[in-house]
């Protein structure tokens, strides 16, 4: 174990630097939120900062910078399925676009879109 002591010392210095960057990024993201950015812009900046922070934690603290192949494979797999899971809202949205054209005149609460579209569809045919 002690054979790697010097390696570990180098690691420790990295951890401190990464901590400083993470703290700075936290301040940045809060500061940016006080600027009057448009919503898409604000989302883009906030997610960019969050992804950077997340990447730093994963790469340095969780040692993903230098990890075994099987862990990369496993993570790739869960990222793919994570993306599929995130596609759920997209899929819903696609239904929304179509149903809007059918019943846009009613303009009920958006939360009820799915349901109302369904009912309307049944009644309309």
């Amino acid at each position: 174990m002690s054979a790697h002591a010097e390696d570990i010392q180098a690691h420790v210095r990295t951890y401190v630097v990464v901590f400083a960057v993470l703290a700075a990024l936290t301040v940045v993201t809060v500061a940016v939120s006080y600027l009057d950015l448009s919503t898409p812009m604000a989302i883009a900046v906030a997610l960019l900062v969050a992804c950077t922070k997340g990447a730093l934690v994963a790469l340095f603290f969780m040692h993903l910078l230098d990890e075994k192949k099987i862990i990369y494979a496993l993570l790739a797999l869960s990222v793919i399925f994570f993306a599929m899971c995130l596609s759920i809202p997209t899929e819903w949205h696609s239904g929304l676009i179509r149903s809007d054209s059918v019943w846009s005149s009613t303009g009920a609460g958006a939360g009820a879109h799915g349901e109302s579209a369904h009912d309307d569809h049944g009644g309309g045919h």
Partner: protein, 196 residues
């Protein structure tokens, strides 16, 4: 009966059992929080209006909590590095700080929650508050789990350092990975719920 690869790594994967198991568990956790984030997006896209988090939630408190959690992430990795350098005393200090940070996080969270309840705000108030309480609540349960595991490794579990230091270091590494993941989730929760 000996279970193989408890300590020595498997020649094909290059990992010991606990570490592989922990990464599998984290993959599952990614899907759990992924499904909740996905629900958040769906609800938000569907909503007529969605409040900016900062108008309802306490951003300074959450910023403080973010820094606390990041600090604990550093200390937990330092505690593992201390074991790697054969410095058990330092390990105890760093692990102690990690657990203290976790408690600070929960105490701040407690004040945040009670402030909301005092204003009559609950999961029943709006979909935004509902998803806020659900995801942060689930995250808080994960913090509690981390306190239990890290507390065990600092307390009764630390005896293993004397009998089997390598397996003990492996356990600390695995617990650390879990703890980083909890930190990672918060790094995304914070802007999504409080700032956007």
């Amino acid at each position: 009966m000996e279970i193989p690869h408890v300590v020595e790594v498997h020649p094909e994967t290059g990992l010991a059992n606990a570490k592989l198991g922990l990464w599998l568990f984290l993959a599952s956790e990614v899907m759990l929080f992924g499904a909740l984030f996905s629900s958040y997006i769906l609800l938000r896209v569907a909503a007529v209006e969605w409040p900016a988090g900062s108008t309802i939630l306490n951003v300074p408190m959450a910023t403080f909590n973010t820094l606390v959690l990041i600090a604990s992430s550093v200390t937990v990795v330092m505690s593992w590095a201390s074991l790697k350098m054969n410095d058990f005393a330092k390990y105890k200090v760093y692990m102690g700080i990690t657990i203290a940070c976790a408690f600070i996080f929960l105490i701040v969270k407690y004040f945040e929650y009670t402030a909301k309840f005092d204003h009559g705000l609950s999961p029943a108030s709006s979909t935004f508050l509902a998803i806020y309480f659900t995801i942060t609540g689930l995250h808080a349960i994960h913090i509690l789990g981390g306190i239990v595991v890290n507390g065990y490794l600092l307390g009764p579990g630390a005896r293993m350092w004397k009998t089997d230091p390598e397996q003990f270091t492996g356990r600390v590494e695995a617990a650390g990975l879990y703890w980083h993941f909890v930190d990672l989730v918060w790094i995304f929760l914070f802007p999504v719920l409080y700032l956007l």
